[in-house]
Amino acid sequence: MDWAYFLQQLINGLTLGAIYGLIAIGYTMVYGIIGMINFAHGEIYMIGAFHSLITFLICQAAGISGILPLTLLLMLFVSMILTSIYGWGVERVAYRPLRGSFRLAALISAIGMSIFLQNFVQISQGARVKPMQPLIEGGITLMRSPNFDVQLSYMQIIIILLTFVLMVVFSTLIAKTSLGRAQRACEQDRTMAGLLGVNVDRTISTTFVMGAALASVAGMMVTLYYGVIDFYIGFLAGVKAFTAAVLGGIGSLPGAMLGGLLIGLIEAFWSGYLTIEYKDVATFGILVLVLIFRPWGLLGKPEVEKV
Protein backbone atom coordinates (compact mmCIF):
# COMPACT_ATOMS: atom_id res chain seq x y z
CA MET A 1 0.00 0.00 0.00
CA ASP A 2 1.27 3.41 -0.95
CA TRP A 3 0.71 5.60 2.06
CA ALA A 4 1.65 8.77 0.27
CA TYR A 5 -1.06 8.24 -2.29
CA PHE A 6 -3.54 7.40 0.45
CA LEU A 7 -2.68 10.56 2.35
CA GLN A 8 -3.12 12.64 -0.78
CA GLN A 9 -6.61 11.23 -1.35
CA LEU A 10 -7.42 11.89 2.29
CA ILE A 11 -6.46 15.55 1.91
CA ASN A 12 -8.44 15.89 -1.30
CA GLY A 13 -11.41 14.17 0.27
CA LEU A 14 -11.39 16.40 3.34
CA THR A 15 -11.31 19.48 1.15
CA LEU A 16 -14.20 18.28 -0.94
CA GLY A 17 -16.07 17.11 2.15
CA ALA A 18 -15.73 20.52 3.77
CA ILE A 19 -17.43 22.09 0.76
CA TYR A 20 -20.23 19.51 0.68
CA GLY A 21 -20.71 19.89 4.42
CA LEU A 22 -21.19 23.66 4.15
CA ILE A 23 -23.85 23.20 1.50
CA ALA A 24 -25.48 20.29 3.33
CA ILE A 25 -26.10 22.47 6.39
CA GLY A 26 -28.52 24.55 4.35
CA TYR A 27 -30.51 21.50 3.31
CA THR A 28 -30.67 20.06 6.76
CA MET A 29 -31.62 23.28 8.55
CA VAL A 30 -34.40 24.12 6.16
CA TYR A 31 -35.67 20.57 6.32
CA GLY A 32 -35.57 20.72 10.11
CA ILE A 33 -37.57 23.90 10.35
CA ILE A 34 -40.19 23.54 7.60
CA GLY A 35 -39.94 19.88 6.67
CA MET A 36 -39.18 20.39 3.01
CA ILE A 37 -36.18 19.85 0.77
CA ASN A 38 -35.14 23.18 -0.66
CA PHE A 39 -34.19 21.95 -4.11
CA ALA A 40 -33.11 25.45 -5.09
CA HIS A 41 -30.28 25.33 -2.54
CA GLY A 42 -27.76 23.98 -5.07
CA GLU A 43 -28.55 27.00 -7.22
CA ILE A 44 -27.98 29.30 -4.26
CA TYR A 45 -24.52 27.83 -3.94
CA MET A 46 -23.94 28.37 -7.67
CA ILE A 47 -25.10 31.98 -7.34
CA GLY A 48 -22.68 32.39 -4.44
CA ALA A 49 -19.88 31.26 -6.73
CA PHE A 50 -20.93 33.81 -9.35
CA HIS A 51 -21.14 36.60 -6.80
CA SER A 52 -17.61 35.92 -5.64
CA LEU A 53 -16.33 35.87 -9.22
CA ILE A 54 -18.14 39.08 -10.10
CA THR A 55 -16.83 40.74 -6.95
CA PHE A 56 -13.34 39.69 -7.94
CA LEU A 57 -13.75 41.11 -11.44
CA ILE A 58 -14.95 44.39 -9.98
CA CYS A 59 -11.98 44.49 -7.63
CA GLN A 60 -9.74 43.84 -10.60
CA ALA A 61 -11.34 46.62 -12.62
CA ALA A 62 -10.99 48.95 -9.65
CA GLY A 63 -7.34 48.06 -9.47
CA ILE A 64 -7.38 46.70 -5.93
CA SER A 65 -7.08 43.02 -6.79
CA GLY A 66 -3.37 43.23 -6.04
CA ILE A 67 -4.17 43.56 -2.35
CA LEU A 68 -5.02 39.92 -1.91
CA PRO A 69 -6.42 39.83 1.64
CA LEU A 70 -8.70 42.77 0.93
CA THR A 71 -9.93 41.22 -2.30
CA LEU A 72 -10.60 37.88 -0.63
CA LEU A 73 -12.50 39.50 2.23
CA LEU A 74 -14.55 41.57 -0.17
CA MET A 75 -15.35 38.48 -2.22
CA LEU A 76 -16.37 36.63 0.91
CA PHE A 77 -18.60 39.29 2.41
CA VAL A 78 -20.17 40.67 -0.74
CA SER A 79 -21.00 37.16 -1.88
CA MET A 80 -22.41 36.21 1.51
CA ILE A 81 -24.64 39.25 1.67
CA LEU A 82 -25.94 39.12 -1.90
CA THR A 83 -26.45 35.37 -1.83
CA SER A 84 -28.29 35.63 1.48
CA ILE A 85 -30.70 37.99 -0.19
CA TYR A 86 -31.37 35.35 -2.82
CA GLY A 87 -31.92 32.72 -0.14
CA TRP A 88 -34.31 35.02 1.67
CA GLY A 89 -36.11 35.87 -1.57
CA VAL A 90 -36.55 32.23 -2.57
CA GLU A 91 -38.35 31.54 0.68
CA ARG A 92 -40.49 34.65 0.40
CA VAL A 93 -41.50 34.11 -3.18
CA ALA A 94 -41.67 30.37 -3.63
CA TYR A 95 -42.32 28.80 -0.24
CA ARG A 96 -44.02 31.15 2.18
CA PRO A 97 -47.18 31.62 0.10
CA LEU A 98 -47.54 27.84 0.05
CA ARG A 99 -47.08 27.30 3.76
CA GLY A 100 -49.98 25.29 5.10
CA SER A 101 -50.68 23.96 1.63
CA PHE A 102 -50.07 20.29 0.78
CA ARG A 103 -46.48 19.10 0.89
CA LEU A 104 -46.12 18.39 -2.79
CA ALA A 105 -46.93 22.02 -3.63
CA ALA A 106 -43.81 23.33 -1.91
CA LEU A 107 -41.70 20.59 -3.46
CA ILE A 108 -42.86 21.43 -6.96
CA SER A 109 -42.31 25.09 -6.24
CA ALA A 110 -38.77 24.28 -5.09
CA ILE A 111 -37.97 22.44 -8.30
CA GLY A 112 -39.45 25.30 -10.29
CA MET A 113 -37.32 27.78 -8.36
CA SER A 114 -34.24 25.72 -9.05
CA ILE A 115 -34.91 25.69 -12.80
CA PHE A 116 -35.72 29.38 -12.75
CA LEU A 117 -32.50 30.38 -10.98
CA GLN A 118 -30.40 28.21 -13.28
CA ASN A 119 -31.95 29.80 -16.35
CA PHE A 120 -31.72 33.24 -14.84
CA VAL A 121 -27.95 32.88 -14.39
CA GLN A 122 -27.56 31.23 -17.78
CA ILE A 123 -29.28 34.14 -19.48
CA SER A 124 -27.81 36.96 -17.43
CA GLN A 125 -24.24 35.60 -17.25
CA GLY A 126 -24.05 33.48 -20.37
CA ALA A 127 -23.80 29.74 -20.67
CA ARG A 128 -20.06 29.49 -21.21
CA VAL A 129 -17.69 28.29 -18.53
CA LYS A 130 -16.25 31.20 -16.55
CA PRO A 131 -12.58 31.04 -15.69
CA MET A 132 -11.20 32.43 -12.48
CA GLN A 133 -7.53 33.18 -12.31
CA PRO A 134 -5.72 31.43 -9.48
CA LEU A 135 -5.33 33.79 -6.51
CA ILE A 136 -3.80 31.51 -3.96
CA GLU A 137 -1.08 29.33 -5.34
CA GLY A 138 1.50 27.02 -3.91
CA GLY A 139 1.42 24.76 -0.95
CA ILE A 140 3.40 22.48 1.28
CA THR A 141 4.92 19.18 0.32
CA LEU A 142 4.07 16.97 3.24
CA MET A 143 5.82 13.84 2.23
CA ARG A 144 8.10 12.68 -0.50
CA SER A 145 8.05 9.13 -1.70
CA PRO A 146 9.90 7.66 -4.65
CA ASN A 147 7.06 7.97 -7.10
CA PHE A 148 4.71 10.46 -5.45
CA ASP A 149 4.83 13.72 -3.48
CA VAL A 150 2.00 14.52 -1.09
CA GLN A 151 0.86 18.08 -1.59
CA LEU A 152 -1.24 20.20 0.72
CA SER A 153 -2.03 23.39 -1.12
CA TYR A 154 -2.59 26.69 0.68
CA MET A 155 -6.03 26.76 -0.86
CA GLN A 156 -6.84 23.41 0.74
CA ILE A 157 -5.61 24.66 4.09
CA ILE A 158 -7.84 27.71 3.77
CA ILE A 159 -10.86 25.64 2.78
CA ILE A 160 -10.49 23.19 5.64
CA LEU A 161 -9.72 25.87 8.25
CA LEU A 162 -12.44 28.26 7.17
CA THR A 163 -15.00 25.47 7.09
CA PHE A 164 -13.94 24.34 10.53
CA VAL A 165 -14.23 27.84 11.95
CA LEU A 166 -17.60 28.44 10.31
CA MET A 167 -18.97 25.17 11.61
CA VAL A 168 -17.84 25.89 15.15
CA VAL A 169 -19.32 29.38 15.05
CA PHE A 170 -22.50 28.12 13.50
CA SER A 171 -22.97 25.23 15.92
CA THR A 172 -22.41 27.58 18.84
CA LEU A 173 -24.96 29.97 17.42
CA ILE A 174 -27.57 27.22 17.19
CA ALA A 175 -26.77 25.71 20.58
CA LYS A 176 -26.26 28.80 22.70
CA THR A 177 -27.99 31.92 21.40
CA SER A 178 -31.62 32.88 21.68
CA LEU A 179 -31.85 32.93 17.90
CA GLY A 180 -30.64 29.34 17.71
CA ARG A 181 -33.03 28.37 20.47
CA ALA A 182 -35.91 29.95 18.60
CA GLN A 183 -34.91 28.01 15.49
CA ARG A 184 -34.86 24.75 17.39
CA ALA A 185 -38.20 25.61 18.98
CA CYS A 186 -39.73 26.23 15.55
CA GLU A 187 -38.29 22.92 14.45
CA GLN A 188 -39.97 21.05 17.29
CA ASP A 189 -43.31 22.86 17.44
CA ARG A 190 -43.89 25.92 15.33
CA THR A 191 -47.31 26.78 16.75
CA MET A 192 -45.97 26.62 20.29
CA ALA A 193 -43.03 28.82 19.40
CA GLY A 194 -45.51 31.39 18.11
CA LEU A 195 -47.55 31.17 21.32
CA LEU A 196 -44.38 32.05 23.24
CA GLY A 197 -43.81 35.15 21.18
CA VAL A 198 -41.37 33.87 18.58
CA ASN A 199 -41.87 35.46 15.17
CA VAL A 200 -42.00 32.19 13.26
CA ASP A 201 -41.89 33.69 9.76
CA ARG A 202 -38.85 35.71 10.60
CA THR A 203 -37.13 32.73 12.17
CA ILE A 204 -37.72 30.68 9.02
CA SER A 205 -36.36 33.52 6.89
CA THR A 206 -33.27 33.66 9.08
CA THR A 207 -32.73 29.96 8.54
CA PHE A 208 -32.75 30.42 4.77
CA VAL A 209 -30.37 33.35 5.09
CA MET A 210 -27.92 31.33 7.18
CA GLY A 211 -28.05 28.38 4.80
CA ALA A 212 -27.46 30.69 1.83
CA ALA A 213 -24.56 32.44 3.54
CA LEU A 214 -22.78 29.15 4.19
CA ALA A 215 -23.49 27.94 0.67
CA SER A 216 -22.04 31.14 -0.74
CA VAL A 217 -18.81 30.51 1.14
CA ALA A 218 -18.73 27.05 -0.41
CA GLY A 219 -19.35 28.66 -3.81
CA MET A 220 -16.49 31.08 -3.37
CA MET A 221 -14.09 28.36 -2.27
CA VAL A 222 -14.98 26.20 -5.24
CA THR A 223 -14.43 29.14 -7.55
CA LEU A 224 -10.96 29.64 -6.13
CA TYR A 225 -10.13 25.93 -5.86
CA TYR A 226 -11.17 24.72 -9.29
CA GLY A 227 -10.86 28.00 -11.18
CA VAL A 228 -13.92 27.45 -13.36
CA ILE A 229 -17.63 27.80 -12.77
CA ASP A 230 -20.77 27.78 -14.87
CA PHE A 231 -24.50 28.09 -14.32
CA TYR A 232 -24.86 24.33 -14.02
CA ILE A 233 -22.52 23.57 -11.09
CA GLY A 234 -25.36 23.90 -8.58
CA PHE A 235 -27.10 20.78 -9.75
CA LEU A 236 -24.45 18.17 -9.06
CA ALA A 237 -23.09 19.87 -5.95
CA GLY A 238 -26.64 20.26 -4.72
CA VAL A 239 -27.49 16.59 -5.15
CA LYS A 240 -24.25 15.55 -3.47
CA ALA A 241 -24.74 17.87 -0.54
CA PHE A 242 -28.31 16.66 -0.27
CA THR A 243 -26.97 13.10 -0.19
CA ALA A 244 -24.58 14.19 2.54
CA ALA A 245 -27.46 15.61 4.55
CA VAL A 246 -29.49 12.42 4.14
CA LEU A 247 -26.49 10.25 4.97
CA GLY A 248 -25.83 12.20 8.16
CA GLY A 249 -29.50 12.26 9.09
CA ILE A 250 -31.65 14.97 7.55
CA GLY A 251 -32.47 17.61 10.14
CA SER A 252 -29.30 16.95 12.12
CA LEU A 253 -26.64 19.63 12.06
CA PRO A 254 -23.66 17.45 13.10
CA GLY A 255 -25.09 14.88 10.70
CA ALA A 256 -24.78 17.29 7.78
CA MET A 257 -21.15 18.01 8.63
CA LEU A 258 -20.32 14.33 9.05
CA GLY A 259 -22.24 13.36 5.91
CA GLY A 260 -20.42 16.05 3.92
CA LEU A 261 -17.04 14.78 5.06
CA LEU A 262 -17.93 11.17 4.30
CA ILE A 263 -19.24 11.95 0.83
CA GLY A 264 -16.11 13.99 0.09
CA LEU A 265 -13.85 11.19 1.29
CA ILE A 266 -15.76 8.49 -0.56
CA GLU A 267 -15.62 10.49 -3.75
CA ALA A 268 -11.91 11.15 -3.41
CA PHE A 269 -11.03 7.54 -2.64
CA TRP A 270 -13.32 6.24 -5.31
CA SER A 271 -11.67 8.46 -7.93
CA GLY A 272 -8.23 7.70 -6.55
CA TYR A 273 -8.46 3.95 -6.37
CA LEU A 274 -11.26 2.88 -8.68
CA THR A 275 -12.36 4.93 -11.59
CA ILE A 276 -12.79 8.64 -11.89
CA GLU A 277 -15.52 8.32 -14.50
CA TYR A 278 -17.93 6.73 -12.11
CA LYS A 279 -17.33 8.88 -9.06
CA ASP A 280 -20.83 10.35 -9.14
CA VAL A 281 -22.28 6.87 -9.25
CA ALA A 282 -20.71 6.22 -5.85
CA THR A 283 -22.55 9.16 -4.31
CA PHE A 284 -25.88 8.27 -5.82
CA GLY A 285 -25.43 4.63 -4.92
CA ILE A 286 -25.00 5.76 -1.32
CA LEU A 287 -28.12 7.89 -1.53
CA VAL A 288 -30.14 4.90 -2.69
CA LEU A 289 -28.67 2.57 -0.07
CA VAL A 290 -29.23 5.01 2.77
CA LEU A 291 -32.78 5.70 1.71
CA ILE A 292 -33.53 1.97 1.60
CA PHE A 293 -31.75 0.77 4.71
CA ARG A 294 -31.37 3.72 7.02
CA PRO A 295 -33.57 6.60 5.87
CA TRP A 296 -32.99 8.49 9.11
CA GLY A 297 -29.25 8.54 8.42
CA LEU A 298 -26.27 8.09 10.67
CA LEU A 299 -27.05 10.69 13.34
CA GLY A 300 -30.78 11.17 12.76
CA LYS A 301 -33.51 9.66 14.88
CA PRO A 302 -35.53 6.73 13.61
CA GLU A 303 -38.79 8.05 14.97
CA VAL A 304 -40.33 11.07 16.57
CA GLU A 305 -40.09 11.12 20.32
CA LYS A 306 -43.25 10.86 22.32
CA VAL A 307 -44.34 14.28 23.43
Binding site: R184, A185, Q188, G194, L195, L196
Partner: protein, 238 residues
Protein backbone atom coordinates in the same frame (compact mmCIF):
# COMPACT_ATOMS: atom_id res chain seq x y z
CA UNK B 1 -62.86 46.34 33.85
CA UNK B 2 -62.82 43.19 31.79
CA UNK B 3 -59.35 42.15 30.81
CA UNK B 4 -60.44 39.79 28.05
CA UNK B 5 -63.69 40.33 26.22
CA UNK B 6 -64.88 37.92 23.56
CA UNK B 7 -67.68 39.23 21.36
CA UNK B 8 -69.59 37.07 18.89
CA UNK B 9 -66.59 34.99 17.91
CA UNK B 10 -66.90 32.39 15.16
CA UNK B 11 -64.00 30.14 14.20
CA UNK B 12 -63.85 27.71 11.30
CA UNK B 13 -61.60 24.82 10.40
CA UNK B 14 -62.13 24.71 6.66
CA UNK B 15 -65.90 24.69 6.53
CA UNK B 16 -66.40 23.13 9.96
CA UNK B 17 -67.71 25.78 12.32
CA UNK B 18 -66.03 25.03 15.66
CA UNK B 19 -67.14 28.22 17.46
CA UNK B 20 -70.61 29.56 16.75
CA UNK B 21 -70.76 33.01 18.26
CA UNK B 22 -69.03 33.04 21.61
CA UNK B 23 -69.54 35.89 24.09
CA UNK B 24 -67.70 35.87 27.36
CA UNK B 25 -65.36 37.89 29.48
CA UNK B 26 -62.60 37.52 32.00
CA UNK B 27 -62.09 40.29 34.53
CA UNK B 28 -58.78 41.34 35.94
CA UNK B 29 -57.76 39.23 38.94
CA UNK B 30 -60.27 36.45 38.32
CA UNK B 31 -59.98 32.76 37.72
CA UNK B 32 -62.56 31.95 35.07
CA UNK B 33 -63.15 28.41 33.98
CA UNK B 34 -64.67 27.01 30.84
CA UNK B 35 -66.00 23.48 30.99
CA UNK B 36 -67.52 21.29 28.33
CA UNK B 37 -67.39 17.87 26.78
CA UNK B 38 -64.66 16.66 24.50
CA UNK B 39 -64.97 18.35 21.10
CA UNK B 40 -67.10 21.24 22.38
CA UNK B 41 -64.61 23.83 21.14
CA UNK B 42 -62.77 24.82 24.30
CA UNK B 43 -59.29 24.43 22.89
CA UNK B 44 -60.36 26.22 19.75
CA UNK B 45 -61.50 29.18 21.85
CA UNK B 46 -58.19 29.45 23.73
CA UNK B 47 -56.23 29.13 20.52
CA UNK B 48 -58.43 31.71 18.81
CA UNK B 49 -57.62 34.12 21.63
CA UNK B 50 -53.97 33.64 20.63
CA UNK B 51 -54.68 34.08 16.93
CA UNK B 52 -54.05 30.51 15.85
CA UNK B 53 -56.47 30.01 14.11
CA UNK B 54 -57.88 33.50 13.78
CA UNK B 55 -61.55 34.22 14.38
CA UNK B 56 -63.57 34.41 11.19
CA UNK B 57 -66.11 36.76 12.74
CA UNK B 58 -66.37 38.75 15.95
CA UNK B 59 -63.90 40.60 18.15
CA UNK B 60 -61.54 39.69 20.94
CA UNK B 61 -60.52 42.60 23.13
CA UNK B 62 -57.54 42.40 25.46
CA UNK B 63 -57.45 45.40 27.76
CA UNK B 64 -59.61 47.22 25.27
CA UNK B 65 -57.46 46.46 22.23
CA UNK B 66 -58.83 44.30 19.43
CA UNK B 67 -56.42 41.38 19.03
CA UNK B 68 -58.52 39.19 16.76
CA UNK B 69 -56.50 40.10 13.67
CA UNK B 70 -53.08 40.16 15.29
CA UNK B 71 -50.39 37.57 14.57
CA UNK B 72 -49.86 35.05 17.35
CA UNK B 73 -46.44 36.25 18.44
CA UNK B 74 -47.61 39.85 18.82
CA UNK B 75 -50.53 38.80 21.00
CA UNK B 76 -48.04 37.04 23.24
CA UNK B 77 -46.03 40.24 23.58
CA UNK B 78 -49.10 41.97 25.02
CA UNK B 79 -48.96 39.70 28.07
CA UNK B 80 -51.04 36.63 27.21
CA UNK B 81 -49.36 33.28 27.77
CA UNK B 82 -50.80 29.85 27.26
CA UNK B 83 -50.12 26.40 28.62
CA UNK B 84 -51.79 24.57 25.74
CA UNK B 85 -53.61 21.29 25.43
CA UNK B 86 -51.16 18.42 25.37
CA UNK B 87 -48.58 20.68 27.12
CA UNK B 88 -46.43 21.00 24.00
CA UNK B 89 -43.16 21.34 25.82
CA UNK B 90 -40.15 21.21 23.49
CA UNK B 91 -39.17 17.56 23.92
CA UNK B 92 -35.59 17.79 22.66
CA UNK B 93 -34.71 20.80 24.78
CA UNK B 94 -33.69 20.76 28.41
CA UNK B 95 -36.01 22.04 31.11
CA UNK B 96 -33.83 25.13 31.37
CA UNK B 97 -34.07 25.84 27.65
CA UNK B 98 -37.82 25.37 27.72
CA UNK B 99 -38.01 28.01 30.44
CA UNK B 100 -35.74 30.26 28.40
CA UNK B 101 -38.18 29.89 25.53
CA UNK B 102 -40.94 30.99 27.85
CA UNK B 103 -38.98 34.15 28.54
CA UNK B 104 -38.64 34.94 24.81
CA UNK B 105 -40.66 38.13 25.12
CA UNK B 106 -38.87 39.36 28.22
CA UNK B 107 -35.82 41.41 29.00
CA UNK B 108 -33.06 38.97 30.07
CA UNK B 109 -32.54 40.98 33.24
CA UNK B 110 -35.67 39.41 34.75
CA UNK B 111 -34.61 35.87 33.92
CA UNK B 112 -32.88 34.80 37.12
CA UNK B 113 -35.59 36.16 39.39
CA UNK B 114 -38.36 34.64 37.32
CA UNK B 115 -36.54 31.33 37.29
CA UNK B 116 -36.42 31.41 41.09
CA UNK B 117 -40.13 32.21 41.18
CA UNK B 118 -40.96 29.23 38.96
CA UNK B 119 -38.72 26.92 41.00
CA UNK B 120 -40.50 28.12 44.12
CA UNK B 121 -43.82 27.09 42.65
CA UNK B 122 -42.53 23.85 41.12
CA UNK B 123 -39.48 22.60 43.02
CA UNK B 124 -39.52 19.46 40.88
CA UNK B 125 -38.41 21.50 37.89
CA UNK B 126 -35.32 22.64 39.72
CA UNK B 127 -34.25 19.03 40.26
CA UNK B 128 -34.78 18.35 36.57
CA UNK B 129 -33.18 21.51 35.25
CA UNK B 130 -30.87 19.90 32.71
CA UNK B 131 -33.03 16.91 31.84
CA UNK B 132 -34.43 16.62 28.33
CA UNK B 133 -38.03 17.70 28.70
CA UNK B 134 -39.38 14.90 26.50
CA UNK B 135 -38.21 12.29 29.00
CA UNK B 136 -40.14 13.70 31.96
CA UNK B 137 -43.42 12.36 33.32
CA UNK B 138 -46.74 13.86 32.28
CA UNK B 139 -47.12 15.74 35.55
CA UNK B 140 -43.64 17.20 35.33
CA UNK B 141 -44.25 18.23 31.74
CA UNK B 142 -47.41 20.00 32.83
CA UNK B 143 -45.50 21.86 35.52
CA UNK B 144 -42.96 22.82 32.90
CA UNK B 145 -45.66 24.04 30.52
CA UNK B 146 -47.12 26.28 33.23
CA UNK B 147 -43.69 27.38 34.41
CA UNK B 148 -42.70 28.23 30.87
CA UNK B 149 -45.82 30.35 30.46
CA UNK B 150 -45.03 32.16 33.72
CA UNK B 151 -41.54 33.01 32.49
CA UNK B 152 -43.27 35.29 29.99
CA UNK B 153 -44.65 37.38 32.90
CA UNK B 154 -48.24 37.08 31.71
CA UNK B 155 -51.05 39.24 32.91
CA UNK B 156 -53.47 36.71 31.49
CA UNK B 157 -52.67 33.01 31.74
CA UNK B 158 -54.59 30.57 29.56
CA UNK B 159 -54.54 26.98 30.78
CA UNK B 160 -55.91 24.18 28.64
CA UNK B 161 -56.75 21.03 30.62
CA UNK B 162 -53.75 21.02 32.93
CA UNK B 163 -55.15 17.91 34.66
CA UNK B 164 -55.35 15.76 31.53
CA UNK B 165 -53.61 12.42 31.90
CA UNK B 166 -51.99 13.26 35.23
CA UNK B 167 -52.02 11.32 38.50
CA UNK B 168 -54.73 12.62 40.91
CA UNK B 169 -52.22 13.60 43.57
CA UNK B 170 -50.31 15.76 41.11
CA UNK B 171 -53.54 17.26 39.81
CA UNK B 172 -54.33 18.50 43.29
CA UNK B 173 -50.89 20.03 43.57
CA UNK B 174 -51.24 21.75 40.21
CA UNK B 175 -54.63 23.22 41.10
CA UNK B 176 -53.18 24.52 44.37
CA UNK B 177 -50.43 26.17 42.40
CA UNK B 178 -52.87 27.77 39.97
CA UNK B 179 -54.67 29.29 42.94
CA UNK B 180 -51.37 30.57 44.29
CA UNK B 181 -50.40 32.06 40.95
CA UNK B 182 -53.68 33.91 40.86
CA UNK B 183 -53.62 35.14 44.48
CA UNK B 184 -49.97 35.88 45.01
CA UNK B 185 -48.67 36.70 41.57
CA UNK B 186 -51.83 38.61 40.60
CA UNK B 187 -52.17 36.74 37.34
CA UNK B 188 -55.61 36.51 35.79
CA UNK B 189 -56.41 32.92 34.85
CA UNK B 190 -58.64 31.50 32.15
CA UNK B 191 -58.83 27.78 32.81
CA UNK B 192 -60.27 25.19 30.45
CA UNK B 193 -61.09 21.89 32.12
CA UNK B 194 -62.91 18.63 31.69
CA UNK B 195 -62.34 17.99 35.36
CA UNK B 196 -65.35 20.20 36.12
CA UNK B 197 -65.51 19.62 39.85
CA UNK B 198 -62.02 20.82 40.65
CA UNK B 199 -62.22 23.65 38.16
CA UNK B 200 -65.52 25.05 39.40
CA UNK B 201 -64.40 24.86 43.02
CA UNK B 202 -61.32 26.85 42.17
CA UNK B 203 -62.85 29.42 39.85
CA UNK B 204 -64.62 32.67 40.64
CA UNK B 205 -66.83 32.25 37.61
CA UNK B 206 -67.45 29.64 34.98
CA UNK B 207 -68.95 29.05 31.56
CA UNK B 208 -70.29 25.87 30.01
CA UNK B 209 -69.69 25.20 26.34
CA UNK B 210 -71.70 22.81 24.20
CA UNK B 211 -71.05 22.37 20.50
CA UNK B 212 -69.35 25.68 19.97
CA UNK B 213 -71.89 27.68 21.99
CA UNK B 214 -71.89 29.00 25.54
CA UNK B 215 -74.97 27.53 27.17
CA UNK B 216 -74.57 28.45 30.82
CA UNK B 217 -72.60 30.84 32.96
CA UNK B 218 -72.41 31.81 36.58
CA UNK B 219 -70.21 31.79 39.65
CA UNK B 220 -68.31 28.62 40.37
CA UNK B 221 -70.63 27.79 43.26
CA UNK B 222 -73.76 28.39 41.17
CA UNK B 223 -72.59 26.11 38.41
CA UNK B 224 -71.56 23.45 40.90
CA UNK B 225 -75.11 23.49 42.29
CA UNK B 226 -76.80 23.59 38.89
CA UNK B 227 -78.64 20.30 38.19
CA UNK B 228 -77.82 20.40 34.47
CA UNK B 229 -74.15 20.82 35.15
CA UNK B 230 -74.26 18.11 37.79
CA UNK B 231 -75.97 15.70 35.42
CA UNK B 232 -73.71 16.39 32.47
CA UNK B 233 -70.28 16.96 33.99
CA UNK B 234 -70.19 15.85 37.59
CA UNK B 235 -72.19 12.63 37.81
CA UNK B 236 -70.16 9.60 38.65
CA UNK B 237 -67.14 11.68 39.55
CA UNK B 238 -65.78 12.70 42.91
Amino acid sequence: MSMLKIEGVHTFYGNIEALRGIDMEVNEGEIVTLIGANGAGKTTLLMTCCGSPQATKGRILFEGQDISRMPTHEICHLGIQQSPEGRRIFPRMSVHENLQMGASTQDPKYFDDDLEMVFDLFPRLKERISQRAGTMSGGEQQMLAIGRALMGRPRLLLLDEPSLGIAPLVVKQIFETIKKINREKKVTVFLVEQNAFHALKLAHRGYVMVNGNITLSGTGAELLANPEVRAAYLEGGH
